[in-house]
Amino acid sequence: MAASISGLLKPWTPRVLLVRWSRYNPYYLEPEVRKEAYSRPESELSAEEKEERELKMLRPIKAATNSTTSSVFNDPLYLKFMSTNRFSTLENIKRKQVEKYHKATDGQKDGIECNPYVIFHQALENCKPVVTLASIQKGGKYYQVPIPLTGQRQRFLAMKWMITECRENKHRRTHMYEKLSQELLAAFEKEGNVIKKKHELHKMAEANRAYAHYRWW
């Protein structure tokens, strides 16, 4: 490698300090932590994936963060939601589900989901709103206009509502993880306060359907 390129590979500070800069120079690529990505044979890959593999062979890779591992228990979405106290919530959910499972009759046993990660993902999906209201000014008055939401915003709102609801509306003597597990199970069954809030928002948006054309973007 030329001297200039190896000079590029060290940790660097850009000459003009931008607001958002990183200690890695732009030559570094993101790491791929999952084990399955490396066990696929050559024949299964498409042309782009082969090119990507070639590129990865030649470029330096950033270090994996502290919170990621290659184990099956590593869930990036769940980490975003709750990085501290993680396993208490999941353990609680699991315990309740397994209790229910053992108490249920044989016919109902298939319907009970025991994997806490699946429950978490499904509960979050159920809580995601599809539209939200925005305050748009038209002719001196402000109207509540329904606007679509991006996936990122939906996820954020679902998580935010979940956490706020647990903080405020529950009994203060219970632990957070306990409250969260109750709420997540309720959301999984499509009951509970968060689902109610989502439905109310949808009803308001439906009521204000007439103003939808005020949106210009």
Binding site: A2, L58, A63, A64, N66, T69
Partner: protein, 363 residues
């Protein structure tokens, strides 16, 4: 008056006053190191080297550069701290010292420059661009000929670029021995891309490849710690790692049962938080070797998370000696073998922290 038909070059100034013929020394410009000048300096250096060998009582034939350095240091002891300011006897034809490369005189005795693009100022760059454009035109002409004959290939053979990249601006400057601006460099790369994009460009394969630099695989840079055997015949390897201010080192022993000792304590006591233990297990779990090794770790400095990160790096490096090269490459692509360069950002004056500004007050 008869002109003598000697073979000597005819001076253009056949008549003129001595004042005209006198060289204007003030307008000589910066000193040009011609090839003859450099050659003369090299010869003088050789003679001086032999004298020095005689002075020191050594054999002039086998007097190496290290001997010269030693002799000069003995004869001219210098207490200066800056190494480059000390007395030096060396022939270095590199750009930073002694003779900058290729500052040879560019014009003949009649003042006429050798290169036809001398007056552009960047003769080598423009001649390269001229050459490149000529090749582009040649390829286009070839394509037109093929089309006229009806032999234009439906699937033209492209140049196999492979794992290579274009020369960087610095490399190009080193080749052309003259400085070029970034716009010039971009024009050059654009013209090369245009040449490569043409269907029949395989004519100019060799020219294009001469301006490309081969990239080598990153995995070649990995230093694998040597696999050692202890008295009982068990394999083990040692490695170190660091993260922020923590320094950790680990001894990975084979034929173990998955026991981990950190600074003498069991890892469950030393790292009560689950996340740290997960980080320690990460390299082992990634390679599927969880129960095979015994780890003996020692770590100091930093906080719990950075100690865990330092140990993770140390474990990954130590594991390299037990694994084949493809697995090592997989570990590198998972980000296990890169030392994390993120450190605490300093606090700046006029701000409360590294990024946080003071509360803005309107008045």
């Amino acid at each position: 008056m008869l002109m003598s038909d000697s073979s000597a070059a005819v001076s253009p100034q056949i008549c003129g006053t001595p004042a005209l013929r006198r060289k204007n020394l003030g307008a000589a410009g910066p000193e040009k190191f011609t090839a003859e000048f450099i050659q003369k300096q090299v010869e003088e250096f050789e003679i001086g080297k032999r004298h020095l060998a005689n002075m020191m009582g050594e054999d002039p034939e086998n007097f190496t550069q290290e001997d010269i350095d030693r002799s000069i240091a003995y004869l001219f002891p210098s207490g200066l701290f800056e190494k480059r300011a000390r007395p030096l006897m060396k022939v270095r034809l590199s750009a930073d010292l002694c003779f900058p490369p290729c500052e040879a005189v560019q014009w003949g005795p009649d003042g006429r420059p050798f290169h036809f693009l001398f007056y552009t100022g960047k003769q080598y760059y423009y001649s390269l661009m001229h050459d490149l454009y000529g090749r582009v035109l040649k390829v286009e002409k070839h394509q037109d000929q093929l089309r006229a004959k009806g032999l234009f290939p439906t699937e033209p053979k492209q140049i196999a670029l492979g794992t290579s990249r274009w020369l960087t601006k610095e490399e190009l400057e080193a080749r052309l021995v003259e400085p070029i601006s970034s716009q010039d460099y971009e024009c050059f790369i654009q013209l090369l891309e245009r040449l490569v994009a043409m269907p029949c460009c395989s004519l100019e394969q060799q020219f294009v490849m001469s301006h490309r630099q081969q990239l080598e695989a990153q995995s070649m840079h990995q230093v694998v710690p040597p696999l050692q055997k202890d008295d009982a015949g068990v394999d083990f390897s040692t490695a170190e790692g660091r993260r922020k201010t923590s320094r950790g080192s680990v001894v990975v022993r084979d034929c173990g049962a998955g026991r981990l000792t950190v600074n003498g304590q069991d890892y469950l006591h030393y790292f009560p938080v689950l996340q740290d233990r997960e980080q320690l297990m990460f390299p082992l779990q990634f390679c599927g070797l969880l129960g095979r090794f015994d780890l003996d770790c020692s770590v100091s400095g930093g906080g719990r998370s950075s100690q865990a990160g330092a140990l993770r790096l140390a474990i990954s490096r130590a594991l390299l000696s037990f694994l084949p090269q493809s697995e090592g490459e997989a570990m590198r692509q998972a980000g296990l073998l890169t030392p994390d360069p993120r450190v605490r950002e300093r606090k700046k004056p006029g701000q409360e922290g590294a990024r946080r500004k003071f509360t803005w007050k309107k008045r």
